[in-house]
């Protein structure tokens, strides 16, 4: 910058020259040669020190200045603790919220899965014409495994439940059945014992299980000699062969306690059209997901040609395992991060305007320093130092707040949701989070510094010295401060609108008409162990007795069983064909449920035509089915479906069933799913070992649960019972309600904070502007202006700012809402009532913000106000 640097020797020479010149002069004044020399040295002071200072000048000056600036900034903040505390608190709120949400993003999206080389792992499923993602059948899986050229390994997994005999009765345990290579595909090795051997996949081979680390600790005391022990699950003996690592989890599983080798032993696994598996594959080196997908689709087409009855329209789907695991939560987290970011923006703008106000009031100090030679750069350094002190404080407080927020949010996640999102267990402040926080801090610092330096550049420094300089700077502040507060108001509007729309979606979702009264309905999952109930007739017999006994309990109106509860998922699909209709290869995909005869009465469903089936209709009677209104409307538009017959796509004789009734639609699937065609088969003709018991009560449905559980235990101690619940709880805690609720609450929280911050910001601008106009107000009042007109003047100023903020905010809100359309349910992105309510809230907040300054301005004593200048 300065061209050639001057050397130290040159400087030393100059000092020598100075000493000689000085000595000459002193001699002229009458000193002796020696005295003159000594005197000149004394006058100069320490030559060495001067030389040192010259040498260090460029190096240390900035550090020295910086230290001085920082300590000056700290002194300034301590002198004015209200300002410092406010700024740090506001910044901490913004940073804390952002960092806490980022920690979730980091845990869910950034940290790779806890497996070897996770980006090569994919989830492999089949696909259908109507559903892009369906399970694979065991036989298809075997063909895919054999024929593919893209996976170095492909392994299957499926939920499998076990019953553990315990003194208090059978205890259901979550388990997962996996093919032998499953853990090797993931790249996970047991911490104790060994992995599954391929020979253990063959039916008839010894039954082996591996334990999750938690199970080993909880149920087996963490002892080493657990390997080789045998444990009886669902009446079958299993040998424990290994224990999985502590940090191992598998989000697509059901948080299993036990992992069993998958042997194709159950009836489903012998049928090509019974789909109960998922698969995970490891891509060969150099194979992309697209290539793998093409290969899988080619195999699927081959299978379709080979097995047209079972595999018609069956395609393939291959997606990165990380997408399969976090795909659903990713947009939610990004939405929340966006919300937190907007809150941080508001916080920073708020602090910027506070800083500008402060620099205004320190105008004269700055002007004097400028006049005394402090360069613009030095003054700017001063501001940066002040910003840095604030940011450092805000960052520390924000990190502490983020830590607390994370703990709270994590505690709010139910155990059930946590099992689906095991990656959140690693949530916490780590290096990624710290790095993110530092970047936020740096951005905030840049924003503060730029605002102040711009302010400094555009306000004429010399004005500060002149006494009359205040009116022009006042106007300038009104302009700058006004603009800042408009940004705040507009951003707040975006957040409020987002929160409003999400809130409305949540309300709409929870008030979806499920088609039956959900109150006074208790539910309980029941599992019948195959060992105790090997024959279907035994299952039917047990269920009959169970329903009888439960209906005999006091306060029970009705009881029924169903293979799957209403309002869960439309995930049990079946293919049907209508007898007597021409078949063009396109079958009808329907939801299917197996329900007991009393199911519809227990639910209070409405019969539209025909009859319900009876308890007597079991395997000994002709097959019957009840269909829902959607199925009747779609496929029997002009005719009465009652009496018609349906069957499987090949119309095999055993599959033919007669439609005996049509029931009004009620919701089978999740709250946000559209109700599709559904068939209800009699449980007694298709008994399943796992079912849910539904009990309609006349009193609080929760209180009946212990009595129901006791009744089941009395009937058979080997039957497994899962924790009871109520229909309302099931609906409220369903995943879709959960996601909608958490986004609505969190964005609502951000919006509330934003509203407070922007109201305070607006108050600051108005109050400052009024304090600057005290004299003007005095003159107005002296000339006869009424109080109300002063009020009006203040409100008009606030009103203008609010109006501009709302105008910009409306545009932003509509844009932001369009981006979050997929989070909305039952409400459009441009929902006018929401916008109107939000605008009203902002106007009210503007009135609140300007009330105090208006009141103060109107109570100005004209005489004092005129004196004040």
């Amino acid at each position: 910058m300065f061209g050639r640097k001057r050397s130290r020797d040159d400087f030393a020479e100059e000092i020598t020259a100075h000493l000689e010149l000085e000595a000459d002069e002193l001699k002229r004044e009458g000193l002796t040669d020696e005295d003159a020399r000594r005197q000149s040295r004394i006058e100069f002071g320490n030559v060495r020190v001067a030389q040192e200072r010259f040498y260090l000048k460029d190096r240390v000056e900035w550090l020295d200045h910086w230290l001085r600036d920082v300590s000056f900034a700290i002194r300034q903040l301590v002198k004015n603790p209200g300002f410092g505390a406010t700024a740090i608190l506001v910044l901490a709120l913004g940073i804390g919220a952002s960092v806490a949400i980022f920690a979730f993003v980091d845990a869910a999206l950034i940290k790779p899965l806890p497996y070897a080389d996770p980006q090569r792992l994919v989830r492999v499923t089949e696909s259908e014409r109507v559903a892009s993602l369906v399970n694979i059948s065991y036989l298809d899986y075997e063909d895919w495994k054999r024929q593919n050229t893209v996976f170095s390994s492909l392994d299957a997994f499926t939920d499998g439940n076990f019953l553990l005999s315990a003194p208090t009765g059978a205890e259901p345990l979550r388990g997962e059945r996996v093919s032998a290579g499953f853990f090797r595909t993931l790249g996970v090795a047991p911490v104790l014992g060994r992995d599954f051997d391929p020979s253990e996949e063959v039916p008839g081979a010894p039954n082996s299980i591996m334990l999750s680390y938690g199970t080993w600790q909880r149920r087996f005391g963490g002892v080493k000699d657990v390997i080789g022990q045998s444990v009886k699950l669902s009446g079958i003996s299993y040998t424990i062969i290994g224990v999985l690592p502590q940090d191992f989890d598998f989000a697509l599983g059901d948080d299993p306690e036990f992992w069993a080798a998958l042997q194709p032993v159950n009836s489903c696994e012998k049928l090509r059209d019974c789909h109960n598996l998922f698969a995970v594959g490891r891509l060969k080196d150099g194979v992309s997901v697209q290539t793998a997908l093409a290969n899988a689709q080619a195999i699927a087409r081959q299978l379709e040609l080979q097995y047209p009855d079972s595999n018609r329209d069956r395609g393939a789907s291959v997606m990165p395992l990380s997408d399969a695991i976090v795909g659903e939560i990713r947009p939610i987290l990004l939405l929340l991060l966006g919300g937190a970011g907007l809150l941080l923006l508001i916080a920073c703008v708020n602090i910027s305007s506070l800083l500008v106000v402060r620099s205004e009031s320190r105008k004269r100090e700055i002007a004097v320093r400028g006049a005394l030679g402090a360069s613009l750069a030095r003054l700017a350094c001063q501001f940066v130092a002040e910003g840095a002190v604030l940011v450092a404080g805000g960052l520390l407080a924000g990190l502490a707040l983020a830590d607390v927020l994370m703990q709270i949010l994590r505690r709010l996640i139910s155990a059930q949701m946590m099992a689906a999102m095991p990656y959140l267990r690693g949530l916490g402040v780590n290096t990624h989070v710290l790095l993110f926080a530092s970047i936020l801090g740096l951005l905030a610092l840049i924003l503060f510094s730029v605002t102040l330096i711009f302010h400094l550049l555009f306000s004429d420094m010399r004005d500060g010295l002149a006494e009359g300089g205040r009116s022009s700077t006042g106007t300038l502040w009104r302009r700058v401060g006004g603009r800042l507060v408009v940004i705040e108001l507009a951003t707040t509007m975006v957040l409020l609108t987002g929160a409003g729309l999400l809130g409305k979606s949540l309300y709409r979702l929870l008030h979806v008409d499920v088609g039956f009264p959900a109150d006074h309905l208790a539910t309980l999952s029941v599992r019948l162990p195959d060992a105790a109930f090997p024959k279907e007739v035994q299952k039917v017999d047990f269920t009959r007795r169970l329903i009888d006994r439960v209906e005999g309990l006091p306060a029970v109106r009705a009881a029924a069983v169903t293979s799957r509860l209403p309002v869960t998922c439309g995930c049990n699909s079946d293919w049907v064909r209508i007898v007597g209709r021409p078949y063009n290869g396109i079958h009808i995909t329907v939801n299917e449920r197996e329900v007991s005869a009393g199911f519809f009465r227990t639910l209070h469903a409405k019969l539209l035509a025909g009859r319900y089936f009876t308890d007597a209709e079991d395997a000994s009677k002709p097959n019957v089915v009840v269909i829902n209104h959607t199925l009747a409307r779609k496929y029997f538009p002009q005719e009465d479906p009652v009496g018609k017959q349906i069957g499987d796509p090949t119309l095999s004789p055993s599959s033919i069933k007669q439609i005996v009734g049509v029931v009004e639609d009620f919701r089978d699937g999740a709250l946000d799913e559209e109700q599709g065609p559904t068939v209800y088969y009699p449980f007694n003709q298709n008994p399943s070992p796992n079912f849910s018991l539904m009990v309609r009560t006349s009193q609080d449905e929760r209180t009946i649960l212990p009595a129901v559980a006791t009744t089941i235990r009395e009937l058979n101690r080997d039957v497994g019972i899962e924790q009871g619940s109520t229909m309302n709880e099931q609906i409220n805690s369903s995943q879709v309600a959960y996601f909608h609720r958490s986004t609505a609450y969190l964005v609502g929280g951000f919006a509330a904070l934003a509203l407070v911050l922007s109201t305070v910001g607006l108050y600051g601008v108005i109050a400052y502007s009024m304090s600057r106009r005290t004299r003007e107000i005095g003159v107005r009042m002296a000339l006869g202006a009424q109080r109300w007109s002063i009020h009006r003047m203040v409100f008009r100023e606030a009103g203008w700012l609010a109006a501009i903020g709302i105008a910009i905010g409306s545009v932003g809100s509509v844009a932001a809402s369009a981006l979050m359309r997929k989070f909305l349910f039952g409400v459009e992105a441009w929902d006018l009532p929401t916008l109107a309510v939000v605008a009203t809230v902002l106007v009210v907040s503007a009135l609140v913000a300007s009330y105090v300054p208006a009141h103060r301005a109107a109570s100005v004593n004209p005489v004092q106000a005129l004196h004040a200048e």
Binding site: F2, E14, A17, F44, V49, A50, F54, G370, A371
Partner: protein, 110 residues
Amino acid sequence: MLQGTLDLLILKILVLGPCHGQGVARLIQRQSEEVLFVDHGSLYLALQRLEDKKWITAKWGVSENNRKARFYSLTAKGREQLVEKSSEWQRLTRAMELILRNVRPRSEEV
């Protein structure tokens, strides 16, 4: 002495013509009627700073009594700065004077 003041004094001395460091120190002392004594170390650093800012330039030369010396002279930029800074200074001193001379009781905001 305040940093900015020394800069201003140096510029003012140099407006009379090129001068070496020792001369500047002497002149400040003499013209201020022996009120202002300049710390020589600070003076040379200030000269260096002004030179870095290109407000003054320096050249080795020979003094009237035949001594080798580094002569400083004002640049156009330095001249501008002198005008600006001295008017600022005058406003400041006027402001100080107004306050110091003011004998009215303090009843208002300053």
